[in-house]
Subunit: 224 residues, 2 copies
Amino acid sequence: METFAPTERTTLKRLAKRGNFDRHVVYGILDEAFICHVGFIVEGRPVVIPTAYGRVGDRFYLHGSAANRMLRTAETGVDICVTVTLVDGLVLARSAFHHSINYRSVVIFGRALVVEDSREKFEALRSFTQHVVPNRWSDVREPTDSELKATIVLYLELMEVSAKVRTGPPIDDEEDYAMPVWAGEIPLRLVAGVPIPDPRLAEGIDPPQYVSDYSRTVPDGDPT
Amino acid sequence: METFAPTERTTLKRLAKRGNFDRHVVYGILDEAFICHVGFIVEGRPVVIPTAYGRVGDRFYLHGSAANRMLRTAETGVDICVTVTLVDGLVLARSAFHHSINYRSVVIFGRALVVEDSREKFEALRSFTQHVVPNRWSDVREPTDSELKATIVLYLELMEVSAKVRTGPPIDDEEDYAMPVWAGEIPLRLVAGVPIPDPRLAEGIDPPQYVSDYSRTVPDGDPT
């Protein structure tokens, strides 16, 4: 299916035209970003933490201390909400009221479960590294058995998912267009700077191309 | 007080050295970022949405549809968790296991309440615009009474607050330092591009300096 099925929770009540269930759009956002904000409930109260993530097909992976903290709240699976947000620009209108932000976000609802299978766990960890720094995996020491055991990996099926996107110029009240004030968009993007070598890096090791040319822009929301 | 008082929820269980209650650090992060992720509970399940925010002293403000959705869940105040995250760089270690991210984040726990006072509401809206685009407010049409009525503003007292910060190079296992692989940091920052004028902008209106020189870097975490 090319789209995720809308549910009551993922159907926008307001500004429905910004809602999007297209898999291509959802995957594109999940692949370009690498930090998500995970919400879960601890003793009846919401907690939101930022963490990195990976994806293999329709499995979304979380790991490490984040997983740990979430897992303390439930024995078998835990209801979470994962939100991924890319900020594309600031929208400056002529009135304060119509200022806005151009963004692309994905919200995923679901129940996170522990990855028990060691092969899947390994592949999930590979997906983290490859997602944050494509091509890195083959250069580094792979996780040992004890490192694998020290890491909790959770998965969430991409089932109840929606994207929300705003693009374009400000929409002002008709009578405000005559105001002699600049209006438009300030585009924003995440840019990589010059790589900083580890102070303990041996002489003569140059950064590989995937480091020196690092960019988050993903040419296509490929579903793999 | 120069620091926020730690509580059980804001005291880190792991990696306690990354925890920080310094007001200067907290304000600095809140002032440099402009998007937060707000977590709240709807029908027993967590929901996380991205939204812009403002701050005046120790009052943190949320508004609009975000507030609306949250408010549907409670009649008098709603428990929320607000998380603000700045990503400063990717930390490439020699082992997959020790890869990390340099970041600064703030987590705020509290009960969000509706701003009823019209003067405070006006000032809160001013703080939103000024926070996202400093110096913008004096150029735009201020909110009308009906716009003010159409906007719900929530406030949250900055009481139960903590920051978490990671900086610096990777920390590898001692035996991995001999590996002939590049290690270090890829710095990341949010950069403004060339402003895009509204297609309906009248001829001869140039972008003001606060648009053409737009930058999120705040020189100092001033508590105002």
